[in-house]
Amino acid sequence: MTPISTGSEWTFDLIDEYDKAIRDIAVNEFQLDCYPNQLEVITAEQMMDAYSSVGMPVNYHHWSFGKHFVSTEKSYKRGQMGLAYEIVINSNPCIAYLMEENSMTMQALVIAHAAYGHNSFFKGNYLFRTWTDASAIIDYLVFARQYISRCEERYGIDAVEELLDSCHALMNYGVDRYKRPQKLSLAEEQARLHEREAYLQTQVNDLWRTIPRRERDDSAKTAPRFPAEPQENLLYFIEKSAPLLEPWQREIIRIVRKVAQYFYPQRQTQVMNEGWATFWHYTLLNRLYEKGLVTDGFMMEFLQSHTNVVYQPPVTARWYNGINPYALGFAMYQDIKRICEAPTAEDREWFPDIAGTPWRPVLEFAMKNFKDESFISQYLSPKLIRDFRLFAIRDDDRDDKLEVAAIHDERGYRRIRQMLSEQYNLGSREPNIQVWNVNLRGDRSLTLRHSMHNRKPLEAGSAQEVLKHVSRLWGFDVKLESVDADGSVSQTFSCKPDVSAMV
């Protein structure tokens, strides 16, 4: 076979040819299941635009996106930072951006990485399948943008901006972690209906219903708690129960919540997702080379870029900045493949069910049914722990020294695997804060409860700031208690709403 091209310049025809060649390998040889692709060639400026609206082609306006844009632009102009060479959007069709100044090799790399790697991950992984609706997201964002700009016209930019600020502060607490969400498209269809219902509901809300019955205060001890169970989704609770919000404010909270929910799977599958895309660009482009469709020069450029992406600096390096998700993810998928194809005795002991079986179904299963946390605890092999020379450090503030808890030896493998998995558990990375109680009989104050994990306290400054936002949304006093494992309160914050700011 003759190579598709030899130079480094790309043309639309060449992109098309490469895409066909890659698609042929991905779909026909490796049976990757993908959404249709939409490859969009854009300029560097447009890439910066895409960056600052969290990669989405449409989004509502907010100053924080402007801030992001300003800082991206600054560092790009100073040459401190190259732009990421790809952005891909979990939508149907799957949109991948190709930057105009990339060479042909890089375009091919991006196509393999984004349009076939990420794309098939979005389509296959259970988190994305259950939590996001790829076909509806763009439409929903268009709706959100229009709705928010109408609100800006009607209620003023400042009012909307303040509300969005508050919602953004709670964005990470606007997702359902355990309950399965409704599909977005359905949600959109019913948005109007829901809003009206929700508003009506607030009219008969417990908060209000209890006001005239003060004389029955003696029954307070037996009064039902509100909410009956602690609520993990703060934004949802506020949207449905905050007494003073207008309907449009509830709708905006809902929008932020939906967007947060849409991005939630991405935050839980960093290693898996990037690793999967990297594994596939590596596999697909190598296959292109084997078929003689690309030149040696192409491969040199590709490998140079690939090795940069999967480089893991050791902890002693000055530029060490945690574990590189590309490196870890890529190594894990490669390792799973190796265990399937050429298992050692150790692998047979650790992974009896996959050692020596065909690698493709095993990999597919691993991609589909896990998130970072469970993926690592399932598949991190002793060989990989040795290769990375992983070690675990225990940092206890009651101890004046750090302790090396485990290293890459027989005694340490399981410990390291468990700790690394824990490190990717969003539930323990982020403080666990839930709606605890609303004082129905008294001042209607809202109490949030932080259940401490490993005695880790909240960062006080930012917690106080976020609480201001909560009280702006809630409209009454807000308290936050940090509760130890033994149930004793160790930190408390409180915040009164800024009455002057209320209309």
Binding site: R389, R394, K456
Partner: protein, 423 residues
Amino acid sequence: MSHIIDRRLNGKNKSAVNRERFLRRFKAQIKEAVGKAIKGRSITDIESGENVSIPVKDISEPSFHHGRGGVGEHVHPGNEEFVQGDRIKRPQGGGGGGGGGKASNEGEGEDDFAFQLSREEFMNVFFEDLALPNLVKTQLMGIEEMKPVRAGYTNDGTPANISIVRSLRGALARRVAMAAPTLTRLREAEEDLDTLLESDDDNGVEVRERRRQIHALREKINHIPFIDPFDLRYNNRVKQPKPTSKAVMFCLMDVSGSMDEGKKDMAKRFFILLYLFLQRNYEKIEVVFIRHHTSAVEVNEQDFFHSRESGGTVVSSALNLMADIVKKRYANSEWNIYAAQASDGDNWDSDSANCGKILQEKILPWCQYYAYIEITEGEPQNLWYEYLRVAGQHKHFAMQKIRSPADIYPVFRELFKRQPATR
């Protein structure tokens, strides 16, 4: 099947709205930064962007996260020497080997968030206080005024721009070129005919044939169009930045003890505004700084704004010095002379009448515009009344009492109003 779409022609300024929102949100901080920049800059260098920095803590978006403390367990790659159970000293500053928690939480907030304001954004902030009418803003912000200049000829344009001489010359050349081969053959045919006619033989058929040929060739030549759209040439005009004349701007300021930093700052804005106006209208501008207390000196910009003197005030000294400089350096008619004077209104009593006289006799006759601002909260003094008298007699003398930057503009109202007429 993949779709490949070229989006490069779509607008690139999708983020413009968000950027604008960002600037709007931090207006107070940006204004402060611009104010500082104006203080620090030369008035001839007012029109570039500016680096603005805002404390990071002002623009951070808060979220709940863990602070230091508690038990943290972390896995790191690249173990070199540790074995299980080793106890190591906690590294200082949270970096490196394995600090607990998220080390960055405490350390943030020190660096400023710095970014660049574009020229337009900078000027917008600058103009904000000055309460300029919008028309004036666009005049000052706009690109330089253009005037069309001949630049050869082009192949297309509007009929009004057709260059007749050029087009006809082209047409002639084309006709000559297109006719040339036919003409040669015509000449040959005519010569043939002549020889045939002279030979006396009776070869009427051939003669007729030649005649027919000659006729056809003539017809062919006649069919070459006299003028063809292809010949048309149009005058080409390109726009060049217009004004090419020169202006000198005199900045006169009282630097006696009573002019404090705030007042000088206000005066600076006043000078900048005049400078911007001149910059739009003149190619070359010189700025002369004259400061005075009891006597006047010409100084550079640095000394003009930043050194402080005390003592009394004799305004006429500055006017005299200006008149001298005009006579010495700018007497030439190609200089347009503008003057801007700032003072807090103090003057030595018997000097004011003198000032009026110098102005009327030695300065105003040469000046395009003379603007005077008095930065004061108090009652006007005799200098003000003297100037009022002068203003009554001269249209191009303007004066204004100033308390805030918004009061500056009216002193230039006449000047800016006249501008369209001078175009």
